[in-house]
């Protein structure tokens, strides 16, 4: 009889754990959260740390490349990110634009390599680093608009959510999972959904924006106080990212 009892305790425990784990939006720990993606060998070993890294505080003029970066804004080069779904690679012209007047590094092998491409009028065959499957569509523009323009977060922080701490890297390397669960995780945190009564509806159902209309939007025009609400609506169906 005792064995029966203990068995039941065991089973109920099993039930509770399986059920709560399975039903409670499983977000298993990401194996790739801190690990890095494959090391990509680029045609030119581009030093992100040198360009975007923090200035050496002791030497604000920073003439020595070994002593810190130049804190260039991400979007100075990746200028398409705020205007397009695609962040894009800066044009070669952009690199040359600065480097033709930076005499100090002109003779470095990497810069010479760069100028070789320029002279041949050939684009640098940069390799993909953050390569998503073809059926995944990420919109850079919307994320920049939201984090940088609306919430005034620093660019490097906002970009870093997905791209990692690029200012520490030389050649960029994937450092976040970029899996679907990883994406969804963030969205669930940032777009909490509450039911009509105000209770948070778990971590699900962006869909409920469907039932909770933004006040006064039935018409074409929107009241001023609602515009933020419209801007903030996150994805609520699979089609947002897969189409």
């Amino acid at each position: 009889m005792r064995c029966l009892l203990s068995l039941f305790v065991l089973l109920m425990g099993l039930f509770a754990t399986v059920n709560s784990y399975a039903a409670d939006a499983p977000q298993p720990a990401l194996t790739t959260e801190d690990s890095s993606g494959p090391q990509v060998v680029q045609p030119i070993e581009f030093p992100h740390d040198r360009h975007a890294g923090l200035r050496n505080p002791s030497d604000p003029t920073n003439s020595d490349p070994l002593k810190g970066g130049m804190e260039i804004d991400c979007m100075y080069c990746h200028t398409y990110a705020r205007r397009s779904a695609v962040a894009g690679i800066p044009t070669l012209q952009k690199c040359i634009g600065c480097h033709q007047s930076i005499e100090s590094v002109r003779n470095k092998p990497r810069i010479q390599e760069l100028f070789k491409y320029w002279d041949a009028k050939k684009p640098v065959p940069w390799k993909k680093v953050h390569d998503m499957p073809d059926f995944v569509r990420f919109n850079h523009e919307r994320h920049i608009k939201r984090f940088v323009e609306q919430q005034n977060r620093p660019t490097q922080e906002a970009c870093g959510y997905c791209h990692g701490d690029v200012k520490q890297m030389t050649v960029a390397r994937r450092s976040k999972g970029l899996t679907m669960g990883w994406c969804a995780n963030c969205h669930q945190k940032d777009h909490p959904v509450t039911a009509a009564g105000g209770t948070p509806v778990g971590n699900q159902a962006y869909w409920y924006s469907f039932q909770k209309p933004v006040a006064g939007t039935a018409g074409g025009e929107v009241k001023a106080q609602d515009t933020n609400n419209i801007k903030a609506q996150g994805p609520n169906d699979c089609w947002q990212c897969h189409k």
Binding site: M1, V18, A22, D24, Y206, N236
Partner: protein, 175 residues
């Protein structure tokens, strides 16, 4: 005093039954009647009247298993439907009853069957080590009675068995 095993083989169930009756009535010192095991090629219901009602608990496992399965089924399904943020079906609620009940039923059966089997293994003590005395005849056509008793009771028990036309008596070699 050390205990030893003794296995007697009978040609048919009546003989074995008679022998057990006698053993029970004899009340031999050094032999507890509960230490008697009947081994047979088929099931004999009648044995219960001889050995007394020894309980079978498997059905409780079945009940528990099916309840567990059903609960797990319903909540796992409903819970995941409530959490899967994009699984909206036009014309249907997010947690619909008819499909969930179907699956609850299946889970109920699944849990029931699995836990019943588990219960069977537990209650029947399977998988078991083979007992020290075993004869392949038991799985063919003979009835075996296995007793465990003190050394001192052995002779008496043997006597009883022989009285009832035991075909063969095997004794555990003394340690």
């Amino acid at each position: 005093m050390s205990q030893r095993h003794l296995l007697a083989l009978f040609n048919n169930f009546e003989d074995a039954e008679a022998a057990i009756y006698e053993l029970r009535a004899a009340d031999i010192k050094g032999f507890n009647f509960d230490d008697l095991t009947l081994k047979s090629p088929i099931e004999h219901h009648e044995v219960e009247s001889v050995l007394g009602q020894r309980s079978a608990n498997v059905q409780w496992f079945s009940l528990g298993g099916s309840l567990l399965g059903g609960l797990l089924g319903f909540f796992l399904i409903s819970g995941s439907q409530a959490n899967f943020y994009a699984q909206m079906k036009g014309g249907k609620p997010i947690v619909p009853f008819p499909p969930n009940f179907v699956l609850t039923f299946e889970m109920c059966v699944l849990g029931g069957v699995f836990i019943t089997i588990l219960g069977f293994l537990i209650c029947a003590g399977l998988p078991a080590k083979r007992s020290p005395l075993y004869n392949a005849k038991v799985s063919e056509d003979q009835i075996g009675v296995l007793v465990k008793a003190d050394e001192s009771a052995m002779a008496k028990i043997k006597g009883v068995f022989l009285n009832h036309q035991a075909l063969e008596i095997q004794e555990e070699v003394s340690k």
